[in-house]
Symmetry: C2
Subunit: 444 residues, 2 copies
Amino acid sequence: MKTQFKAITGSVVAPQGFMASGVFCDIKKLGTGKGSNKGQKRDLALIVSETPATVAGMFTTNQVCAAPVKVCVERVQKSQARVVVVNSGNANACTGKQGMADAREMVSFTERALNFPAGSALVGSTGRIGVTLPMDNVRAGIIEAAVELGATQVHADNAVEAIMTSDTRPKQVAIEFKLGGKTVRIGGMCKGAGMIQPGMSATGARPAALPHGGLHATMLGFITTDAAIDRKVLQQAMQQAVAQSFNRITVDGDMSTNDTVLVLANGLAGNRKFGTKCPEFKVFQAALKHVCLDLAKQIVRDGEGVHRVVTVRVKGAKTVQDADAAARAVANSALVKTSWHGGDPNWGRIIDAVGYSAAKVVEEKIDIGYSALNGKKILWSLKRGQPTKVTFQQLCAAVVPKEFELHINLNLGQADAVMYAADLTEEYVDFNKGDVADPSSLGG
Amino acid sequence: MKTQFKAITGSVVAPQGFMASGVFCDIKKLGTGKGSNKGQKRDLALIVSETPATVAGMFTTNQVCAAPVKVCVERVQKSQARVVVVNSGNANACTGKQGMADAREMVSFTERALNFPAGSALVGSTGRIGVTLPMDNVRAGIIEAAVELGATQVHADNAVEAIMTSDTRPKQVAIEFKLGGKTVRIGGMCKGAGMIQPGMSATGARPAALPHGGLHATMLGFITTDAAIDRKVLQQAMQQAVAQSFNRITVDGDMSTNDTVLVLANGLAGNRKFGTKCPEFKVFQAALKHVCLDLAKQIVRDGEGVHRVVTVRVKGAKTVQDADAAARAVANSALVKTSWHGGDPNWGRIIDAVGYSAAKVVEEKIDIGYSALNGKKILWSLKRGQPTKVTFQQLCAAVVPKEFELHINLNLGQADAVMYAADLTEEYVDFNKGDVADPSSLGG
């Protein structure tokens, strides 16, 4: 279905009726001067819809959850939205009552600055944990960002720069496709590089079905579309899309306090609304998944210190939970991740991780193999628990590329799961040793 | 109770009636010559009791489990033992039917070499995964080791050298104490440095009570005692001791296919046997735990690339499972472990890990603090989810020592748990990138 989605420019302002901006307001209070941008990255963004938009969201299931997440969880469930205000440099997490007051002030100040009705703003934060926001700077930033709003690629670029923390690259995408005869667009931007193994749900509450291992970044994702769609339908499309994308990635296995994905749909494409049983739903859901998966993979590729990205495909599990548990155990094993870094096709560590995972497995049934990214030909290193005749040199060649796929067949059932995983490198460790001159230097 | 255990020399040959040996028989087939030891470490050990000994064992709960583990699980449940034969260089894991035949040949050949009855030998292996044992070398090694048996410290030193893989130091201990008026001794040796988060049970089967996260080393431990004790009583003392020691450590969160702890009790101390309700049981159990915990901590301190060892103490959990889950989430978080390496008292990462753990937690109730090793004074960085007035400099000073304690109080209940954890360093990554000239170079 991929081919029907045409890649376009414009990121979050590609869909009709959206504007964005990104400014520097010195949220880290580095003292480089209010409103100035002397070598500092922008740190406050606005994404605005000209008309009221239907919203849906997915939020971290971490029980320690930041104030902006709490505010969004309340708001997405009851109303439409016009604007999202996002800052980097401070996560507004573990900031107690003052943090909640500040998050509420961010949305209400944004609403007043844009002359929008109460309840029409959403908020996201990423950065240090445990430090309260410098609200004077935030308010000045919101006013400046409101003035700078626009719908060009430069506006989108400024907005995405403003949400980056340890990211080395901006992460954006936009597509165009036909829906019921109308041209619909979806745009998106996101941030995230470390503390990445999102496990998001619609309310931030843990669904019983989610495996323990699956409850683990700060990642923030903001998606815009001009599709006309009802909230419940949008939420369902979003849940499926996030389950198949952001919730399938891991850099370091750590789930953040701030993970948030929001989608705003303003209906300006003029398509006829559709239910979840309509053929249009399938198309829209696939398009939304396409955007989310593209963004999710950009996060893994830009993960802290990451050299290699491995798609871990588990099939033949008895249950989806088993498939997920086996894939996550492999994707998060320190020994497997270091062997990927070393270009070592070490199946011993892989079968070891599969064996200690919560998945039911039988050693004598396990197949392990490699393919090129999206490749059809699998080079099997292990069949039914036993090494094959494939030479070690062949296996080494299979794990040289910057991206490859690892295939594990448990041969016990019909369930499968995929994880998009990063290797573990010296650079990751060096980066995250922390800047001890800076308390809680890296956070949610 | 610690003070009543007197540290003595002798390791596994400290108790009456035990002998040991360690030889080089070129199990990696490096071709340095059969029986020679030209710069190569010894790779085959025997531990022998002069008289039949009661045995108990604990084994990896990894579903992918090595042939020697399978042989031991069968044997410890029905009989006494006289000898343990152990090799390094080859884990005899994922070796199929040939591996099982080789493990059985190792025990039966050892029995014949020592003129012991069938069923009186146990076996352990550690090293490469997926390569069959060079049985000619193994047989030659067993014969040589049988000739070299003796009861001096040198004999014990040779035996412990023969079970080392990535270990940089031998790990041994022995104690002496009074039991019912008699002098009893317990000696022990072990190996392990990476693939370390043991989760062992008596049968290798997973007890329902063990948390998923807890099912994760190759570590091998061999304990000898001259106490007189019945098998069931010994097994119960062993289960408690392992639950409080080897099953509480993590280097990298990976559980091996070969984890094994065996204890042999030959009764030569002449104490009166005791039941689990007798006061002597408490003393014996405490002594066995003392030996196991000493060995377990030696493993963490010698963990691959480890700079710092942190005792993670969680209290105030609703259930023991919750306490365990929170402690393991923190102890295995890549972000927390790298911050320990960096000397960064980053409570944001700690509360983040507690929040995504399977434990029930409430952000506003969480306390986080530091103390010196075994120190009573706790420096709190967080109280009830909020930063305290303790300065960042004070906190930094608390995490400078090579060993310190991290205290987490969930303030929800009465259950507690402890984990002995390692930091994550560039050296760990560099070491485990793997030697791509050597298939499955590091294994079980």
